[in-house]
């Protein structure tokens, strides 16, 4: 069960960080037009199509003692990030990026632009328009984004294995634990954890569909298309 708690902790950290990074990025992608925008859109969507092992491999190199992020971490904390919880969070943030950003973009883009014009004409700054008009009216999209990134992080396997290895209590998440137990023929324990993950995933997805069918469906389509 330790591994399950670790998975939930990881998923919670990742969704929180993604929401903080994802909101300004999605705002920018939804409302600004510039020539190179499609490149950034492609980068944001990349984890949808990239094999987890490829992403995991590059992240592992970057986090390692000779990688750029590993060096920064060494300089700041006198320790590397590979095979640590921090490294796992970093990799998972990259991996779940589209699951946060795309529902946010979809709901920002669906906003009636005249509401934003009206807000500006009433003297509101961009920030006030964002917090008072865009955020409350995008709530279904935000819930979708958080829930999807949470569920997606909870179930990831390949990236975690590449970056985190399999250290009990530190990087051994539920999905890796299940794999381990099947390898060592502990079917009863594997079954118990698999069932818990199945139930969590189902509940979470029902919530997404319940909150907003329209935006949920659009993101689900990109997920299912993988």
């Amino acid at each position: 069960m330790n591994s399950l708690i670790l998975s939930v902790r990881l998923a919670a950290c990742v969704s929180a960080i993604l929401l903080l990074i994802g909101m300004p990025l999605a705002y920018w992608l939804a409302y600004w037009n510039w020539r190179g925008k499609f490149l950034l859109e492609a980068i944001v969507a990349l984890p949808l199509v990239l094999p987890p092992t490829v992403l995991g491999f590059y992240v592992l190199i970057a986090l390692g003692p000779h990688g750029p992020i590993g060096k920064i971490s060494e300089a700041l904390f006198h320790r590397g990030l590979a095979f640590t919880f921090g490294g796992l969070v970093f990799a998972s943030v990259l991996y779940s990026f589209p699951f946060t950003v795309q529902p946010l973009i979809a709901s920002f883009e669906a906003m009636d632009r005249r509401l934003l014009d009206a807000s500006a004409l009433l003297g509101a700054s961009r920030f006030r328009t964002f917090t008072k008009v865009i955020l409350p009216l995008s709530l279904p999209g935000i819930v979708t984004a958080v829930v999807l990134s949470f569920a997606h992080t909870l179930g990831e396997f390949g990236v975690v294995l590449m970056v985190g290895g399999n250290l009990p209590g530190i990087t051994r998440t539920a999905s890796i634990d299940i794999y381990d137990r099947v390898q060592s023929m502990e079917y009863a324990e594997a079954n118990r954890m698999a069932l818990v993950l199945l139930i969590i995933s189902f509940v979470v997805l029902s919530a997404v569909y319940g909150v907003n069918r329209r935006i949920g469906r659009r993101v689900w389509a990109s997920w299912a298309a993988r």
Partner: protein
């Protein structure tokens, strides 16, 4: 006083691209901007509000420069102090009427804000809706809340983009009366955009006619629209009958001329225009200005009596629209509006022979 000189190229579908090129001087009070859809009315308002950037030009309110493209002055919309009510109204659906009106008053201390919101809701007679969510307010009342919200910020100019189009005449009139009463004290310039001829007549104020991005006429509705000089304006302002004809006789002493329609053989007497003998002109006649008679009328002041035959009759609401083919050949078809009662009394049916009766002064000569 709002002064603006603007140029803005708008590209769209082939028929909707135009260059907005206007110079305006708008005094306090209501000024109507009238024109067909695609004439550039909304583009003009968006430029004044700062939502669109003109290619060149300047905008000035009471001597303060808001935009000067050459000098790179461009005050953002949030700082222009211009109120703008869109056709869609754009009330914030997640807020109550009260919160909508308070939205633009964030800088004012809370107690003053509350009393100002109350006063504005009162001025537009929607105080009973204060706690109602915007998406639960009915048409008519929504317009009132939108006006209260825009005017709560004490703007220097009010822009209205057909906000009342969807309402019936009674509601429209009562809202405009409230707006006039409010503006009697504030005395700011109000630009009211519409493509509806009926609204121009109802408001009856100074009107600017915009067509394909240019101002083609300015004056009172009566001066500008009752004697249209351009056929695009005639179509826009509800002249259902437009015909080409050749001037065949000028009777300057009577102030009239005779025009022979290019199709068919009918001749129509019109007021004397600037056209010379033998030139081709366009005639515009309102469907509501044409009389129908079932027998040839005598002893009339109307100078034009044309024989015809009803070829179609269609009820539209409380009105009948008749198509009447003139002459035996039926080359010219007049559209005529009739009341239900007139149709009943004359027992008008399809194929029935009738006489079209037109007053000289109902036949307007256009310049293209």
């Amino acid at each position: 006083m709002l002064n603006a000189r603007l140029q803005k190229a708008r590209s769209g579908a082939a028929h909707s691209s135009f260059v907005l090129d206007v110079a305006l001087e708008i005094p306090s009070g209501i000024t109507i901007v009238f024109g067909p859809s695609g004439a550039g009315k909304s583009t003009l308002l968006d430029c004044i509000a700062g939502l669109l950037k003109p290619d060149s030009g300047r905008i000035e309110i009471n001597g303060e420069m808001l935009l000067d493209v050459q000098q790179r002055i461009d005050v953002p919309p949030a700082k222009r102090k211009i109120a703008y009510v869109f056709q869609s109204l754009a009330l914030f659906p997640h807020m109550t009427a009260e919160q909508n009106v308070a939205y633009g008053l964030a800088d004012i201390p809370a107690p003053q804000r509350a009393s100002r919101v109350k006063a504005m809701l009162g001025a537009f007679r929607v105080e009973q809706l204060a706690n109602r969510k915007a998406d639960q307010i009915s048409g008519g009342e929504k317009q009132r809340v939108a006006l209260a919200r825009s005017l709560a910020t004490s703007p220097r100019v009010l822009l209205l983009d057909e906000p009342l189009t969807a309402l019936d005449e009674g509601l429209k009139k009562s809202i405009m009366e409230d707006l006039r009463r409010w503006n009697a004290a504030q005395n700011i310039p109000i630009l009211y955009v519409t493509h509806s001829r009926a609204e121009v007549d109802a408001l009856g104020e100074r009107v600017i006619v915009l067509d394909q991005g240019k101002i083609i006429s300015t004056g009172t509705p009566h001066e500008v629209l009752d004697a249209p000089r351009r056929s695009s304006l005639a179509q826009a302002s509800g002249f259902e009958n437009l015909f080409s004809g050749v001037v065949v006789e000028l009777r300057e002493s009577d102030g009239v001329m005779r025009v022979r329609l290019v199709r068919g053989a009918s001749e129509i007497e019109t007021p004397l225009g600037h056209a010379a003998l033998g030139t081709t002109v366009r005639l515009a006649i309102r469907a509501g200005d044409i009389l129908l008679a079932t027998e040839r009328p005598y002893g009339l002041s109307a100078r034009n009596v044309i024989a015809g035959r009803i070829i179609s009759l269609e009820q539209r609401g409380t009105m009948f629209v008749a198509q009447v083919a003139a002459d035996a050949e039926g080359a010219v078809v007049f559209t005529v509006h009739l009341t239900l009662g007139a149709r009943r009394a004359l027992e008008l049916e399809v194929n029935r022979p009738v006489w079209l009766v037109l007053k000289t002064y109902s036949c307007h000569v256009l310049e293209d």
